[in-house]
Symmetry: C2
């Protein structure tokens, strides 16, 4: 049984005990900053930690501006709106993603258009996307339309799965040729670099998540990244109810959102961000330990950072061979029963009721990967 | 000058120094609970404080179920969706409200239909609403339609301004007769009771806010209240990405939201909720102190809780007489210059660009109140 071999390999790497999939680690200034935040009484919409977190995120990712918001889904919704996505547009998203990617499109009354992934990155496959657009997209004025639905295809959302960067050069080229705005969903890839550039900084806008399961957490939170000052100012305006600055008047000049990150959560984030290099080093050590332990198993290998990339190894990912794809559920069952928490990749978007009817490309690789990916215990501090 | 008299009255009540409009007070277990929360590592989507905060909110308000969410706007959006508001419906909201009330309607692709307020409560006027609906609403099947726009009018959102309960008996009767679902926006009225029942518990659903300026704060947060267990379960499901419970599979059965309240924020909320009775007592004392100090001023009076109601006196509110309505801005200027932070009521919804074209009833009282209301420094602990 391959399940037994996998459990042995995990036990050799981790030792005895129960291991969650991913738990946060608060080994720095978390208590200190949060206490200070409460003592200041500025726990909410304004405060020094929000400004500092935004500055430090920008500095870490090498972007001009970061705007902290309430979560990664909200970040993506607003980034897509700022990218010019309109109601009834189609937006290219991977079929293999967390549902938030598709939901953010839907909140704008636009339609997710699902595309295939590639095995090398687990992200959108630029060659397959180009072939698909060649057959389905027709030029119409400044844009391209889906010849079957008549809708404008306005943007593409590369999502860097489990922290592994997509082939951004390839995707940027396709986007250029088909006039698609690129908004990166870097919810999982803080600390991941594509050819030396931080993920989320290669498109017009990018988004991050600081949910409790991410490499760093603010409890709940996200951020919008962009090098465009005007878009950043607009992002801040839209996410703070679109209120014009005034000493006392309440004038809101568009339909904004209550999407700001509270200062309390930003305080946690500042402390977490200080530990990024330790988290990354620990996750890389865990990758190496798992890889060595799994080397003897022919039916599975560990997902490795794509060539030219530095992955954050947020979630360690086992890739089963086709031969044992039908044992995936048995492996999930056995590992979880053994106290080693594992999970499969997400169910593909078109296999979910809300997105069953979305336009989609052929999805052979996504279909195959969905049957063969298993995330392993991945918390920072395990190695 | 009435401005000088008002400044004198405020100084007599508050003493020297600068006074913000409303700052939170952390005099209880805030540091303790938040520290414990971080130490537990459960700062995010699950955790004991979220469950406890929901239980204690339900107990305090006397409702069967409370669902904690990320803010009051999100709470109202989801409550309206659960109330059956559909795209292109119209929803009755006061013209005199914070923009979130209208935005929540708009997020559902529905249309705010603005109605007038009454001087006794600062909230929706049931008599004026009935008269207006008599002229504009025509029966169509199970519902009423706006005869001018053809759209269904599906719900009404009483908002309890500055903590003063609306005339709920009157509004419930109108809602009954016109088949409107009642969703209460109780963002400002935690601790306010209408004839012994907590605001937000009289309609099908109600919503609360715990923004930093509210009577209690979670940094950012809100809650949905309902006595309907099925709606509460659905609210929890919708606000947690509509993911079905499963040991590992990611199955989302509808378009949900990432609207849960992080455990870190709920920890703060639990500590705040323990101090409600002190906050309420302090605010009532401040009301009495202000009222006594302002008694000599003929041109203004202090907003008092409506008859049969217990207001939380969240924001103390000066009501100018018609004779000095034109001095409002001079009073705002003078008080703010003196370090006594004041603000007017919100600009009326139809005076804001995003809602300028909404259907609306005649709004004589709202127009008048908007020129005559001034909120005064109101933090708990001032008296």
């Amino acid at each position: 049984m391959v399940a037994d071999s996998i459990i042995n390999a995990l036990r050799n790497s981790l030792g005895e005990g129960n291991f969650p999939l991913h738990e946060p680690r608060f080994a720095g200034n978390e208590q200190h900053y949060v206490q200070e935040c409460i003592a200041s009484t500025y726990v909410s919409s304004v405060g020094a930690y929000v400004d500092r977190f935004e500055r430090e995120l920008a500095s870490y990712t090498g972007i001009r501006r970061a705007v902290a918001v309430v979560n990664g889904t909200a970040a993506l919704q607003v980034a897509l709106q700022l990218a010019g996505v309109k109601a009834n547009d189609e937006v290219i998203v991977p079929a293999l993603t967390f549902i938030a990617t598709a939901n953010a499109v839907r909140y704008l009354n636009a339609v997710p258009h699902l595309a295939d992934s590639e095995e090398a990155t687990l992200g959108l496959d630029p060659r397959a996307l180009r072939d698909w657009l060649k057959s389905v997209a027709v030029p119409a004025g400044d844009a391209y339309r889906n010849r079957e639905t008549g809708r404008r295809i306005s943007a593409v959302v590369p999502m860097h799965s489990f922290g592994h960067p997509c082939d951004m050069d390839g995707l940027l080229a396709v986007a250029h040729d088909y006039r698609l705005v690129v908004v990166e969903d870097a919810a999982e890839s803080l600390g991941s670099f594509y050819q030396g550039q931080h993920t989320g900084t290669l498109g017009l806008l990018g988004t991050l998540s600081f949910n409790g399961n991410k490499i760093i957490t603010t409890g709940g939170g996200g951020a919008i990244l962009t090098n465009d000052e005007r878009l950043a100012d607009h992002a801040k305006h839209l996410t703070t109810t679109a209120k014009q600055p005034h000493r006392w008047e309440y004038v809101h000049d568009e339909v904004g959102y209550n999407f700001r990150m509270p200062n309390l959560n930003a305080a946690l984030g500042c402390a977490q961000l200080e530990q990024m290099s330790e988290f990354l080093a620990s996750k890389r050590r865990l990758f190496e330990r798992y890889e060595a332990a799994l080397m003897k198993i022919d039916e599975a290998c560990l997902m490795r950072e794509p060539s030219g990339c530095e992955s954050n190894y947020w979630l360690q990912t086992l890739v089963l061979s086709d031969a044992v794809a039908d044992q995936r559920d048995a492996i999930l069952q056995a590992t979880n029963d053994a106290g080693l928490m594992t999970r499969p990749a997400w169910r593909l978007m078109h296999r979910l009721e809300p997105y069953a009817e979305c336009p989609r490309a052929p999805l052979p690789v996504a279909e195959s990967l969905a049957q063969r990916l298993i995330n392993l215990p991945s918390s920072a501090g395990l190695a």
